[in-house]
């Protein structure tokens, strides 16, 4: 019995699939009334159909547009009724009724045409869908709708947004909606008072979206007239030849407003002359003499007198015309009151932006300073304290960075590998430094120029060896995940965690240096040996050993600095030479032999470079050039650096 009923139902549904569709449902009737436009599917004519759907107030409209947008709407070729369908396989459709979403059944797709809206139409549908999505029960859908409005706001969104405000339950989304509503009010508000109120509510807001909403209001058209009109919407008066309005543009404006005769470009003039060459002459002037601009002007005037070409303005006429007219901006973005409110709000915002940018620049400068300090601190020991000029210092930085890279090859965990790399880099460069001191530098004490040259030789050799081993391409030294991203304070001020880490590392090094030099036996002996090696030796200190250890210590710190710098920049065989001159500059500017001087020197160099970059942001090369020039001049006035050693220490 049961099986019989099941078979009967199956027979029925298969036999009469389309009969279940409600052809007279309001949504279907609406679709039928717009059927021509929908089936034609042209971006230019589809507007009314979408509007009719969106404004119908029918609950099914959203489903229709959703299915239409995702190409799931089909039309029956015989009845012209619209349905939506899933493709079961190549030839079969499972179709549904728009009226109540019930499944009608599976049918062959021969009798149905798929509607394939192009991307333009899909965009229009998407815009219209927003008003439904704004009240969608799913928060993610509402967020996506807000994203869509932010990307491309339209006037119709304002009403939809306002309508959805009351039902919003999620506080975060509500805040976003309110902000967006005010932004849209600025652009599309009905009354000026409403718009001005919205503008004023954003006073001092640093968001980029606010500036993006305010700037179009200030858009102005440049116009010319005999006397300055007294309309309220007149902005700035411009003078031709200024930055905002070039002389050529000003005259072109007059020409387009029919206030002056056109000019002719050199190119057009030449072409006109060429066209009128007859028997090697232009208007009776030999072609061969037309080798200067004056001669060509004369020939053209002669042609114009003959009536062959149109007369054009001479330079004197251009000047006279420009002097007789006044050029001004007319606000076209909004009524004057709104413009002034927007202007005031923008000024306030820009002031605040400038202050914040200054703060951001200071943070940048500080982090650059800490990088220079890191690069220079090892040098402050070998050069500043011992007086040994080590041109291979940059290559020790490179060795440290490559040590970090090699460690990462073996230890895939970034955090662990950095923890391993730092002491290992110290050990490697400490060893290299000690070896260099033993083999080369020891024989060259008191011969600074020879030391400089010999260490140059080592620097060249080390650089090339690194190139031979690791190749010329940059190697990555990846920071651990917890150093990714940046600390965002507001839309303008942010600093990446890696820079903060480098800053902290620089402070740690400073503390380490001070501790070793002032609180340990080694530091005491180092200071003794550098001040007076013979006296120190007679006190039982072995100067050779101390020199070796000090040099190793300085080199080791360079190695750790290399790991830090490698995290921030790429690891290449040339990275050392990028820093060596700046490092020496830092030490020399700060004052040789004093760690606080090095700190001040690095701060000065960092702030100086960022400051120059601020004046000319597109050009870091120029910034470096000017910075070096500045340092050269600075040394003229303070040859011993910011902090000059006095007394006996200065003579050591």
């Amino acid at each position: 019995m049961l099986r019989f009923v099941a078979t009967l139902i199956a027979c029925l549904t298969l036999a009469i699939p389309a009969t279940a569709q409600q052809a007279d449902a309001p949504i279907q009737q609406l679709l039928q009334s717009q059927s021509d436009l929908i089936v034609k599917s042209s971006r230019r004519t589809i507007g009314p159909a979408i509007d009719a759907l969106a404004n119908s107030g029918l609950p099914q409209a959203q489903v229709v547009m959703d299915k239409w947008q995702t190409r799931q709407m089909w039309v029956n070729t015989e009845t012209g009724l619209f349905i939506y369908a899933e493709e079961v396989d190549r030839d079969t459709l499972r179709i549904f009724d728009f009226a109540d979403g019930t499944e009608i059944g599976e049918v062959p797709d021969d009798g149905y045409d798929q509607l394939k809206p192009n991307s333009g139409i899909r965009g229009l549908i998407g815009t219209a869908l927003v008003q439904f999505q704004l009240s969608d029960p799913e928060p993610d859908t509402r967020r996506r709708a807000l994203d869509a409005i932010e990307r491309g706001a339209e006037e119709s969104h304002l009403a939809a947004l306002r309508a959805s405000l009351g039902n919003e339950t999620d506080t975060q989304i509500l805040a976003r909606k309110q902000r967006l509503e005010r932004l849209l009010t600025i652009a599309y508000g009905e009354t000026d008072a409403e718009r001005i109120e919205a503008i004023q509510s954003f006073e001092g807001d640093l968001g980029v979206d606010v500036r993006a909403a305010l700037n179009p209001l200030l858009s102005a058209r440049i116009e010319a007239a005999d006397v300055l009109p007294t309309d309220p919407d007149i902005g700035q008066v411009l003078s031709p030849g200024s930055e905002q309005l070039s002389r050529d543009d000003a005259y072109a404006l007059l020409v387009s407003a029919d206030l002056a005769k056109p000019r002719i470009s050199v190119e057009d003039q030449r072409n006109a002359l060429i066209e009128n060459i007859t028997d090697g002459q232009v208007a009776g002037i030999q072609v061969a003499t037309l080798n200067s601009q004056e001669a060509r002007d004369m020939a053209y005037v002669a042609l114009a007198d003959q009536g062959t070409v149109t007369a054009v303005a001479t330079e004197a006429e251009v000047d006279q015309r420009l002097a007789n007219h006044v050029f001004y901006e007319r606000y076209v973005g909004a009524p004057p009151e709104v413009v002034f409110a927007a202007q005031a709000a923008l000024n306030a915002i820009e002031n605040k932006v400038a202050i914040n940018q200054m703060f951001d620049l200071s943070l940048d400068a500080l982090s650059l300073a800490s990088i220079y300090f890191l690069a220079a601190i090892g040098l402050a020991i070998t050069f500043g304290v011992m007086g040994v000029i080590n041109m291979a210092h940059g290559e020790f930085i490179m060795m440290g960075a490559y040590t970090g890279y090699v460690v990462q090859l073996f230890i895939p965990d970034y955090t662990l590998s950095i923890i391993v790399a730092i002491p290992l880099a110290f050990a490697v460069t400490f060893g290299a430094g000690v070896a260099m001191e033993r083999l080369v530098i020891r024989w060259l004490y008191h011969r600074p120029l020879e030391t400089l040259l010999a260490t140059f030789g080592i620097s060249i050799a080390l650089q090339q060896i690194a190139k031979n081993i690791f190749g010329t391409q940059a190697r990555p030294l990846t920071a651990p995940g917890w150093l990714d991203g940046s600390l965002v304070i507001n839309d303008i001020v942010s600093i990446s965690y890696i820079r903060i880490a480098i800053f902290v590392l620089a402070l740690l090094f400073l503390a380490l240096f001070l501790f070793v030099m002032n609180r340990t036996r080694l530091g005491l002996e180092v200071r003794a040996v550098t001040q007076n090696p013979r006296m120190a030796a007679s006190m039982g200190i072995n100067p050779d050993k101390i020199n070796m250890l000090t040099f190793g210590f300085g080199s080791g710190i360079a190695g750790i600095a290399g790991v830090a710098i490698g995290l921030y920049a790429k690891v290449t065989s040339e990275m050392g030479s990028d820093y060596i001159v700046q490092s020496f500059m830092t030490v020399v500017v700060g004052g040789v032999g004093n760690i606080w001087g090095t700190l001040l020197g690095a701060t000065m160099v960092g702030f100086l470079q960022k400051g120059i970059e601020w004046f000319n942001p597109s050009n870091t090369l120029a910034a470096q050039t000017y910075m070096i020039l500045f340092i050269i001049l600075f040394i003229q006035f303070r040859p011993k650096g910011i902090i000059a050693l006095k007394g006996r220490a200065a003579e050591a």
């Binding site: 030449r270 002359l273 000029i389 010999a454 050799a461 050269i632 003229q636």
Partner: protein, 417 residues
């Protein structure tokens, strides 16, 4: 110079036989190369090798300048290759302008109307500055149309730069390694400046096509290269004579004294800064002239040639050749640059160690760097020191004492006299 105190001065040639020997060797070499060249004689030596030899002579000239300023005056300048490059830029601007002008005039002569000066100038500017996205002449090209003015720039630009820089540096008593670092900074600043596209000198493209002399389209490179070779040889000979003359007189004695003990010379009443400034500027001018002869043979000058490393190599050549003797600088520059060409040109046979093949293209720089350390440590007199062994010349014995309290550039075992 003790000779100055003798009652009868011997002729210059007899007092400095090395000058005459050097000039004789240079003349023989020039004649020999000319006879063997493709352009005039038997064609044993290829044109490209003639160019290499001509360039080497220019490098010898700049090495002479370096020896004068470092080996004799004790100023380790790391900026002389920058002056060399500036000389190349100065002449390169005229070469490029004049050659492009010919091309532009040729193409415009086909037009219906004779070109106006503005059209010619625009055409040249578009040709030259198209690569840096500009079509206007920067102000520094104002004199590029004139060969005499650009030749003056070859001398004046490095000279004035050296004068200003030297005046600033010497005035504030920056000496020794500090001065070296400062000159290196100057060189770095200059090369960074030239690397910018808006420096007006075509950024990192540099000036190119300099080997084609304007107006000499038909003359083959084999002949032009010989002309430059002769000019370089002549410049080197004149430069050598000038340097030898400078170091032979009282002036030479003073600058050597400054090298050995600056403070003592100052106390004796000599204006040390003025002497240093003269030497620094003069050598910069010599370097500029050498560069102006070098780059037309090289064909291209770009900011990389000015980078500090080039000046360091210059110091390397002089040190390997032997400081404080003019022929040492020439030997060093010629030897190292030619050997360098040989190794980096891929002609040197690779050494197969079984587990690793030493390719000299890669390892030559390492060898050079290490040999430089070796020379500094074990043979401070450089290759020129071999001459002392040959003629059995002995240095005065100061029992290991330093030459002066400020530990000047040389210790007694390195000093000549």
């Amino acid at each position: 110079m003790t000779d100055a105190a003798l009652p009868r001065r011997q002729p210059f040639a007899l007092r400095f036989p090395s000058v005459m020997i050097f000039l004789a060797i240079l003349a023989l070499f020039t004649v020999g190369v000319t006879v063997l060249s493709e352009g005039f004689g038997m064609g044993v030596i290829s044109t490209s090798f003639i160019k290499t030899l001509g360039k080497t002579l220019c490098l010898c000239l700049v090495a002479l300048a370096m020896d004068l300023v470092w080996g004799y005056c004790g100023i380790l300048s790391l900026g002389h290759m920058a002056f060399f490059g500036l000389g190349g830029y100065a002449i390169g601007m005229w070469l490029m302008y004049a050659r492009t002008e010919i091309i532009v005039l040729e193409s415009l002569s086909a037009a219906a109307l004779p070109p106006t000066p503005q059209e010619v100038s625009d055409g040249i500017a578009t040709q030259i500055f198209g690569v840096v996205g500009s079509s206007e002449f920067p102000p520094i090209w104002a004199f590029a149309y004139s060969l005499p003015l650009q030749l003056a720039a070859v001398v004046l630009v490095p000279g004035v730069l050296a004068l200003i820089f030297g005046w600033l540096a010497f005035r504030s008593r920056v000496t020794g390694v500090y001065l070296s670092i400062l000159t290196q900074a100057m060189t770095l600043a200059l090369s960074l400046h030239l690397f910018q596209n808006d420096s007006g000198l075509r950024g990192n493209n540099g000036l190119s096509g300099l080997q084609n002399l304007p107006g000499l389209g038909e003359t083959p490179q084999s002949i032009v290269s010989l002309w430059f070779f002769w000019a370089s040889a002549l410049a080197l000979a004149l430069g050598y004579l000038l340097c030898a003359w400078i170091v032979s007189g009282k002036f030479g004695s003073v600058i050597r004294a400054i090298r050995d003990d600056e403070a003592r010379v100052r106390f004796l009443g000599y204006p040390v800064e003025a002497f240093k400034l003269v030497i620094f500027t003069l050598t910069a001018v010599i370097a500029g002239i050498a560069g102006a002869l070098y780059y037309p043979q090289a064909g291209i000058v770009n900011p990389a040639e000015i980078a500090p490393i080039a000046s360091i190599y210059l110091a390397v050549w002089v040190a390997i050749g032997g400081r404080g003797r003019l022929y040492g600088a020439v030997i060093g520059a010629a030897f190292v640059s030619l050997v360098s060409t040989w190794f980096t040109g891929g002609q040197a046979p690779d050494i197969n160690l079984g587990f690793y093949t030493i390719s000299w293209v890669d390892w030559w720089t390492v060898l050079l760097g290490l040999s430089f350390v070796g020379v500094t440590l074990f043979a401070p007199k450089g290759i020129g020191g071999l001459v002392d062994v040959l003629i059995d010349r002995k240095s005065p014995n100061r029992h290991g004492a330093d030459l002066g309290p400020d530990h000047g550039a040389l210790r007694e075992q390195e000093a000549d006299k």
